[in-house]
Symmetry: C2
Subunit: 292 residues, 2 copies
């Protein structure tokens, strides 16, 4: 008859994870987003943890958080532990379902770059199942369960395409556009996540031009492209994403004024890929398909 008094309980794993995310990202809101919960949940977790420990982990200054000395001292160990756990989990998932390749991508990239390539990929490797998750920002590479990530970024490794931008519009509208100044007479579509595109382009391609850039602001670039094809106005085209439309003639570039941005479309892989695994094959296939 064993006696089993509770003794000191281990803090709940979820609370530790919440603390780690909040500390690493510097805020409950950011942690909440990473963990797909509301900030209130993070707050509650951390508070419970602090209560159990009898010590504060964060200083709250109404405008955000500041790690206490205690928090800062223990954070690295937790980050490393959860990183390892994430890696182990990914390995587990990958080994359990070797034929599923999980891809994380910017919504626009998913729709405009990746999606058109999938039919051919499926035809060439029907046994591979592709799962695509669209998200605004690259996931934490050490944690999230993705085999491949497709995002725009400045890092040179894994570069699939330069980021070259220039105005595009439906062929019917192009007749009204002979020089950059003409842009002010047509609606200029703006994508909310690339709201600086017009300025970046104008700065280099038409210095001195004062662009009004009034016009609809859309939250999905793919939607903006669709609208543009339908003649709603002029859009800054990212070459990699509209190459298909240019080729098909559904969009045209009224000016010969491409501007190359420092970043580019980039494929990264959280874990090293072996060449003849499904993920490795998809990666190679996508890389080879990039110029197309």
């Amino acid at each position: 008859m064993a006696v089993k008094p509770p003794g000191p309980r281990q803090p709940p794993l979820n609370a530790l994870r919440a603390f780690e995310a909040a500390a690493r990202l510097g805020g409950f809101a950011a942690a909440a987003e990473e963990l797909n919960v509301t900030p209130g949940a993070i707050s509650a977790h951390v508070k419970a943890l602090e209560t159990e420990l009898g010590a504060r982990l964060f200083d709250r200054n109404a405008r955000g958080l500041q790690l206490t000395g205690l928090g800062a001292r223990v954070l690295p160990a937790f980050t490393e532990a959860f990183d390892r756990l994430g890696q182990a989990t990914q390995t587990l998932r990958a080994e359990a379902a070797p034929n599923v390749v999980h891809i994380a991508a910017l919504p626009s990239v998913a729709q405009l770059w990746l999606s058109p390539r999938l039919p051919r990929l499926r035809a060439e490797a029907p046994e591979i199942e592709i799962s695509i998750t669209a998200m605004e920002a690259p996931p934490n590479l050490k944690r999230a369960p993705y085999d491949l990530c497709l995002f725009f970024g400045p890092e040179p490794d894994g570069r699939l395409a330069e980021d070259v931008i220039f105005p595009v519009c439906a062929p019917a509208l192009a007749e009204q556009l002979h020089q950059p100044e003409d842009l002010n007479r047509l609606p200029c579509l703006t994508d909310s996540t690339w709201s600086e595109d017009w300025h970046l382009w104008a700065q280099q391609a038409a210095p001195g031009l004062r662009l009004a850039t009034r016009g609809p602001v859309l939250s999905l670039y793919a939607l903006a492209v669709e609208e543009t094809v339908n003649g709603a106005g002029v859009l800054i085209g990212h070459q990699a994403l509209i190459a298909g439309h240019l080729e098909a003639g559904t969009l045209v570039a009224p000016f010969d004024a491409p501007v190359r941005l420092p970043g580019g479309l980039r494929m990264s892989n959280p874990r090293p890929l072996r060449a003849n695994t499904p993920a490795g094959r998809v990666a190679r296939w996508l890389r080879d398909s990039a110029p197309a």
Copy 2:
């Protein structure tokens, strides 16, 4: 307006922990004990994990478990990750409450060896708070939140005392005991976790003696000691645990026949101790107090 589709969810941490424990310990029952839940809970966790993964982690053969290839391949990574997490948690707890020293001990050791020493320790270091948790088996050193562990074991490092055993009884009963054969005329108390004591002793101290060893079986050694003091019978005394009673005269050893067992009372520390931390000081104090 960010789009946030659920995408592939991360498996619950608790399920991963359950899997890791079951795999490492080779059974749901053992895992359940380590995690302080029922086996059914472990079973459910593992089943949920397997369902989510779409792959088996264990082969169930009605008589126990066998890791599948998949399970065996991923186990080490999980064990390491959870070990680190445990270490981080311990560090956190220790830093958050530096003056609390958590000790895990065998119930008998806690009551008969540790407890009598505490008053003096408290007097010498009143700022240190001691927390004692009694348990039948040493905890997983890499995980459990204890600074010091006191158990009997064969390992030589950290040895506080040899395990020397011999029959003891109340002084009044000693008159009836002149030679080992007399033991059969008195009740021989047995502790359920040290049920072999009588045989071990008799083998060496009185070879050939046929001991009936009938008598009450108690589940707590400290209780057996108390009963013995009250004259209920004869008990195999473990020197380290009854030294106080011998000194006080409340128990006597009727025969001069000590037997030294291979193991001993042992103090171990999951994490390295620094000498002038509270845990380190308690450890040193206890070590120095051992001969007493």
